[in-house]
Each structure stands twice: as structure tokens, then as C-alpha cells.
């Protein structure tokens, strides 16, 4: 089981979706599928044709950028974080799209757990 941390902007769209959920799955894809079984409609908001994670949605597993096939170990924390964007025209998925936007967004969207850890002494964030 993994703990999934979900953004407010997704929770308001899906009835009953909590900010934190415990979901079974050994990959990010399985975790999203598990979320969708429990709260129908989540997958449509996180995935696009491919299937692939939507371009401006970032997923991290234990603080590392992840894709659908990324392994999720038991007890891992999965963060779903909308990319930081703004200042471009709205109403289109092309808003904020430019070469390197995805990696730039990941560098900006640091999970809160990592941000607070970095304010303290440097320590390993993952086991092994």
C-alpha cells in the first residue's frame, strides 16, 4: 500500500476524494487505477491519451519524478502535484507548454516533505 497525497484542485472535482489516500499498487499506473476504482473519474483527470500522465501533472514517488511505469514500493509516498504555471493564455492545454516545461515544472513543484527536509540537516530521504 502507498500513501497518495492529492491536490485540492483535484479533490474538489471528485466527490469524496480525500487529500491523502492509501492505495494498493506496485506502479504509478496501478496506484492511479486504484484511485479511480475508489473514486471514479480520477484517471480521466490525471491521464491523457497514450496513456500517459497529463503533461502538466507531476507525480513523485518518495520525492523522485515518476512516470506511469515507475515502481511504487510498499509504504512509499506518492505525490500528485499540478505543475506551477501562469502568465500565459488560459483555456488551452497548450498554456505553459514549451520545450523543457515539464522538467522545469518538476524542479519548481517540490513536495512539501522535501522542502521542509531541506531546511534541516541534509539526510537521506530514502532507505537503501
Amino acid at each position: 500500500m502507498a500513501e497518495v497525497v492529492l491536490p485540492r484542485s483535484l479533490a474538489v472535482l471528485i466527490p469524496g476524494l480525500p487529500h491523502r489516500a492509501t492505495v494498493d499498487g506496485s506502479t504509478v499506473a496501478e496506484v492511479i487505477a486504484g484511485l479511480d476504482r475508489a473514486w471514479p473519474g480520477v484517471a480521466d483527470r490525471l491521464l491523457e491519451a497514450g496513456p500517459a500522465i497529463r503533461e502538466h501533472i507531476n507525480v513523485f514517488v518518495d520525492g523522485d519524478p515518476a512516470a506511469l511505469g515507475t515502481a511504487v514500493a510498499p509504504g512509499a509516498t506518492v505525490h500528485v502535484i499540478p505543475a506551477i504555471a501562469g502568465g500565459s493564455g488560459g483555456g488551452s492545454a497548450r498554456a505553459g507548454t514549451r520545450p523543457g516545461a515539464r522538467s522545469e515544472a518538476r524542479s519548481q513543484a517540490v513536495p512539501r516533505a522535501l522542502a521542509s527536509a531541506r531546511r534541516g540537516p541534509r539526510r537521506r530521504l530514502t532507505a537503501g
Partner: protein, 358 residues
């Protein structure tokens, strides 16, 4: 108690409900709803009492919102709005129209989806996507967008749709097959200015009580048809510009239509000379009347998008429009005089007027 009059306003930052009564003198604003999503089109289904709002989020993709309590709460679903894993990505819902117990969604890249359960699940109307002219479809400045859906008032198997830079199509068999309906409409930006498809239709409306009588605001002029779109006659003469987006038809008079000319595709796309006006015809487009009282006449560089005009069903008819810079205007006398409801909305993309009985 008097009837309520609601203006449904879709904007870049959510949907708003602007409420008055049949006097149409004072207005109260609720919103933003739909969690501030960009809302391309918002509409009302009188048969079910549901509101629908279609849009696209840069993060979460396209969806259709539904409200059963006049906008107080909303749900959303895009279940089935997809071309499949091998198909192009759908970026936004550009039009949501309810008709004959179903709900239709026009999307970008251009396609049509249908729901028979009030927007919970959707199916792809493949007959349009698979039209033999599809390989020739090229996007317009705003993209390859199915932006207008005009159902036949009584025949549920007939419908017209419009796609930017592709043209108008009609189905007579519930969407299984479609025919282009662009004969007589100019496409001056094409090598052949009168092609079978490739016209840039901006808005299509049906005349009241006459199903075969249509009007369109096009990139290259204003037109009318008396044969269900099989042939079109240009009626641009008398207007200050051939270009514009919005158009609405009178609820009872088939010869009355309102539109808002803009100064040209490559000239800024704002009201000509920076002087705001809404034009109307009462003779089917033979002549046009400029309505300007109460609208700013100087330094008004205002644009109005295709879904951002509406009319109510009162007498005199109320006409409404919202601008892409967030101004919302209303006329309670058929477009002769105007008042500003608000000048501080986000960019307005859609306006609909709904009368709710007391």
C-alpha cells in the same frame, strides 16, 4: 413572485451566474463556480433543468460540468470524451448543447460526442470524425475546433455543426453520416475561394420557427440560408465589417438577428473604430441597424467571442454580450439601448440567458 432571469457567464476563470428578474434592472453576481476552470461554453437544458459548462484545464484536460441546482453545486465528467490512446489528445470542450434528451459536446481537435445520461458518460460520434474530407481539415487561428451545435427543433436525427476553418456540416441520420453545407460561402484565404469545405464558420444560428432557415457569421461575411444550409446568400452589405464572431437569433421572429462586427481578422479583431455597437436586422439581413446608445463610443477596443452573445425570451427581447476583456452588457429593448452589468469580469467566453419560472 416574479420569474427569475439568469445570465450564465463562462469565463477564463470559471462560470458565473448573474441574476435578475423580468424587469432586468438590477443584477446580482454569483461565482466563480466550476472551481475557476476556463469555461468555453455554458448552457441550459430546459427539459431537465440542468446547466452544462464545457471547458478545458491546462492541468486536468477537458470536461463537462453539470449543475442541477441552478449553479449552486456542480459535478463533472469526461468519461468517454477521448479519441482513444492512439488518437489526438482532446484539449477542451468548446460547446455543450442539450437536445431531444441527449447532450452533445463539441471538442478540439474537432469532433462530436454525445451523452444519453446527462453528461455522465459520452460516446464518440464517429461518422463526423471519419468524414472523407477529414484529411483536408486544417486548424484556424484558434485551433481545429467544433464550436457550434445547432439541433433541428423537432427532428432528433438532424443537426448542423460548425468547425473553424472547415465549415458547416449537417447530419440527417443521427450522426451516422454528414454532408458539407458551405455552398455560396466565401473562403478568401483559400486558393479556391468557394471550396466544398474549408470555410471558417464562426457562428451558426437557426431562425425561429423555420428549421430550414439559418444564419451564419463567418470569417468572410454574414450569410443566410433558406434550405437548411444547402445554399447560402451573403447578407454582409450594410455592416461595417465582414468579420465577427457572435450572433443570436430572435426567439420568435425569423427575420431578426443580432451580431457584433469586428474590424477584421488581421486588424485587431475589436469593434470598428473603437466604437461599440450591436447590429441587428429585422428583414433577414437585407438591411442592418446600428445599436449603440449606452455603449462606449470612443477608445472601446472591445472584442466579443462566438459564444458570448445571448438573448432572452421576454418581450421586448433582452440581448446580452460579454467581451474578451471582461465587460458584460445588457439591453432590455431588443438592442436599441444598453447598460453595463459589470466591467470587471475575467475574459468572457460564453453568455446564455435563462428564464426560470417563479
Amino acid at each position: 413572485m416574479t420569474d427569475r432571469l439568469l445570465l450564465l457567464v463562462g469565463t477564463k476563470k470559471g462560470a458565473f451566474i448573474v441574476e435578475s428578474d423580468t424587469a432586468r434592472r438590477t443584477w446580482a453576481v454569483r461565482g466563480p463556480t466550476c472551481d475557476g476552470w476556463p469555461i468555453q461554453d455554458i448552457s441550459y437544458d430546459p427539459a431537465s433543468g440542468a446547466m452544462y459548462a464545457g471547458g478545458g484545464s491546462p492541468w486536468y484536460g477537458p470536461t463537462v460540468f453539470r449543475s442541477d441546482d441552478l449553479g449552486a453545486t456542480w459535478t463533472q465528467s469526461s468519461d468517454g470524451i477521448t479519441y482513444g490512446d492512439d488518437g489526438p489528445k482532446i484539449t477542451a470542450v468548446w460547446n455543450v448543447t442539450a437536445a431531444h434528451g441527449s447532450v452533445y459536446a463539441g471538442v478540439g481537435p474537432a469532433g462530436l460526442f454525445r451523452s444519453d445520461d446527462g453528461g455522465t458518460t459520452w460516446s464518440h460520434v464517429e461518422g463526423l470524425t471519419n468524414h472523407p474530407t477529414r484529411p483536408t481539415w486544417q486548424p484556424g487561428a484558434g485551433g481545429l475546433i467544433l464550436h457550434t451545435i445547432v439541433p433541428h427543433p423537432t427532428d432528433r436525427d438532424r443537426m448542423w455543426i460548425a468547425i473553424s476553418a472547415v465549415g458547416t456540416f449537417e447530419t440527417r441520420d443521427g450522426g451516422l453520416s454528414w454532408e458539407p453545407r458551405n455552398h455560396g460561402v466565401r473562403a478568401d484565404f483559400q486558393p479556391d475561394p468557394m471550396p466544398e469545405t474549408g470555410q471558417c464558420v464562426h457562428k451558426l444560428v437557426a431562425a425561429a420557427g423555420e428549421p430550414e432557415h439559418l444564419y451564419q457569421q463567418n470569417h468572410c461575411g454574414v450569410y443566410r440560408s433558406f434550405d437548411g444550409g444547402a445554399t447560402w446568400q451573403e447578407i454582409t452589405a450594410g455592416l461595417p465589417s465582414e468579420f465577427g464572431f457572435g450572433m443570436v437569433a430572435h426567439p420568435r421572429d425569423p427575420l431578426t438577428v443580432w451580431n457584433i462586427p469586428l474590424n477584421g481578422a488581421d486588424k485587431g479583431r475589436f469593434m470598428p473604430d473603437g466604437s461599440a455597437a450591436v447590429w441587428r436586422t429585422h428583414d433577414g439581413g437585407d438591411t442592418w441597424i446600428r445599436g449603440q446608445d449606452g455603449l462606449p463610443q470612443r477608445d472601446a477596443y472591445l472584442g466579443v467571442l462566438r459564444e458570448a452573445m445571448a438573448r432572452d425570451e421576454l418581450d421586448p427581447v433582452g440581448v446580452y454580450f460579454g467581451t474578451s476583456t471582461g465587460q458584460l452588457f445588457a439591453s432590455a429593448d431588443g438592442g436599441s439601448s444598453w447598460d453595463a452589468i459589470s466591467t470587471t469580469f475575467p475574459p468572457i467566453w460564453s453568455v446564455e440567458a435563462v428564464r426560470i419560472p417563479a
